[in-house]
């Protein structure tokens, strides 16, 4: 298996991306195509005594899509940018998956342009895995940012794709799907949520377990939770913010006083374990579901650990043939009658 890694994307690229890719290469036994500026990457490898090889190959690209670039326009202007070249490797079957910590909108746009959508899928979604209170039982939240204004059938498709991912990549026999909402009852929520609730209830392809309130996300009783990309992105980033705030509070309060200093010292290994369970870096990247290729988006501030974990998510998806599992499962006809609103053009 060979993973194309966008070595230029992310706040700490290329350093952390390269280090993460090398971790993944040795620990996860995958081949890596490091896509980026040849000179910069070769220099880094040389300085750190890494050897370029068949298993860790530099694939040259030119330029990157900056965070303030408009995705489509950026891709048009920079057709050989790192994310575009990485995506091309998958298109040409020279790689099995792409991992990027760069501009997520650009990654989504590049995936749509180069790989296209799976048949029947109206809108691909970004799915993020969250740790829950129950150890080793993550929940997949989607969409976390690809589609801000959603129609009911989009969320219905997210539910099907999420279920298949949960079943085949994570190994949950019968994934329980929740609808992110502000109350348990079917009548609760905004217009979108009320309509989606009904649709999910009627859909035979999934196991609908009802509405999931904000407080239920991390409880571990849902395997998949669907929402529009606006709510999902806010939850994703809020979770990141809370993780940071909690670690900050622990750092401030625990070592206070002599008891604190002593106690914190003794507890160091256990605190490390707490950090691992809370820290966003420990949970792999977000997966693009619905495009005709495996693409994992890691957050912008990814360090080496995040990159390795994002590569692991990509590897798992490839290993379990997630694409083939989803392909053909999204029927053009869904159980929701056509909206009266016109279909907006695909982005």
């Amino acid at each position: 298996m060979r993973i194309a890694v966008d070595a230029m994307g992310g706040d700490f690229a290329p350093r952390e991306v390269i280090e993460g890719a090398i971790l993944a290469q040795t620990q996860l036994n995958v081949d890596i195509a490091l896509v980026g500026d040849r000179d910069i990457l070769a220099n880094y490898l040389k300085q750190h005594n890494y050897q370029e090889s068949d298993r860790l190959e530099i694939v040259p690209s030119e330029g990157i899509i900056e965070m303030d670039d408009e995705p489509l326009e950026g891709l048009r202007r920079k057709p050989n940018s790192s994310i575009a070249v990485a995506m091309n490797l998958v298109k040409r079957k020279q790689a099995d998956a792409v991992v990027s910590a760069g501009h997520s909108g650009a990654a989504m746009a590049a995936a749509l342009l180069r790989l296209g959508r799976l048949p029947g899928v109206d809108r691909p979604a970004i799915g993020a895995l969250f740790p829950t209170q129950v150890a080793h039982k993550p929940v997949l939240l989607l969409d976390v940012g690809a589609n801000v204004d959603c129609r009911p059938k989009f969320l219905e498709q997210f539910a099907i794709m999420g279920s298949l991912y949960s079943k085949y990549a994570i190994g949950i026999q019968e994934p329980k799907v929740g609808l992110l909402n502000i109350g348990e009852e079917a009548c609760k929520g905004n217009e979108l949520a009320i309509r989606v609730h009904q649709a999910l209830q009627d859909n035979p392809q999934i196991t609908f377990a009802g509405n999931a309130e904000g407080r239920d996300i991390l409880k571990g009783q849902f395997d998949v939770i669907v929402c529009d990309g606006f709510a999902g992105n806010i939850v994703l980033k809020f979770a990141e913010g809370v993780g940071n705030a909690v670690m900050q509070i622990l750092k401030e309060e625990l070592p206070k006083g002599w008891r604190g200093k002593l106690g914190a010292l003794i507890l160091k290994p256990n605190l490390k374990k707490v950090k691992e369970r809370i820290d966003a870096d420990e949970y792999g990247g977000a997966l693009l579901l619905g495009v005709a290729g495996i693409c994992v988006i890691s957050h912008g501030s990814s360090n080496a650990i995040s990159i390795r974990n994002a590569i692991r998510v990509a590897k798992d998806a490839v290993d379990h043939g997630v694409l083939d599992r989803i392909r053909g499962q999204i029927k053009p006809k869904v159980s929701i009658p056509a909206d009266d609103t016109p279909d907006d053009p695909p982005t």
Copy 2:
């Protein structure tokens, strides 16, 4: 000052509500009208050697609005329910504020029916205070659940009301207002967010500090963050869930092994401080902004501490004349041109 407390509302009513009210009465120096079933309340007071007095008076009510009651219908069927009677006390100026941990929809409906809206306010909002990474610098998020489908002018009004609350009740000279959104740029977000961004930028009554992403909520650089009640409610309940999950993880991981047990014992006082800073119970209830009275809604699982803190929020709002500060500040004409969508009837 006299606060009407809905003694029958909440998962742990009346016990925790009464205990919280008594805490408030002694610690915050307020008079309490305990509204509820006279027999139940009198019995509880007697059993626990509390004295009914002018400062802690039972005001009898009949029945409660249950969580599965539809608010308006419930209030019609039970006009003497605890929340209705409590609201009447404020209406008749026999109390300065209401605090309830019961059905929040019913509290909102009772406030609208009994007290009405402040002039110019289209939709009252529920504002919740969140602790931030910066000690003693809370942020007010609104709306957290009263209005699931919002029009731009609602959020503009939330921003004005939130600013005035932040200024007068919390004492922030020039409150920085953020718009909850999924990116920093003005062009980011769903249709609602894009329109509200423009409106807030143009509004001279507030200091607009731009979009606030999920990760910014707890950073402490915003004093007020506005959003629709759907996103806000999800954030509110997710925060609650995260707090619980973090405390759960700390409880599981810290005392592991002999080092853990020893360290956790030594760190006990500091861990208590951590809990206080993370725990939702430590932060007062949510305030109804835009109704013609002070009403504070505490979460359903409120314990005595939460109730006391909710009463403190109510007291602060009364002390600082928040109502009079807001009254007259919401102009019927706002800077946003009329929507083409028809105005839905007030809920």
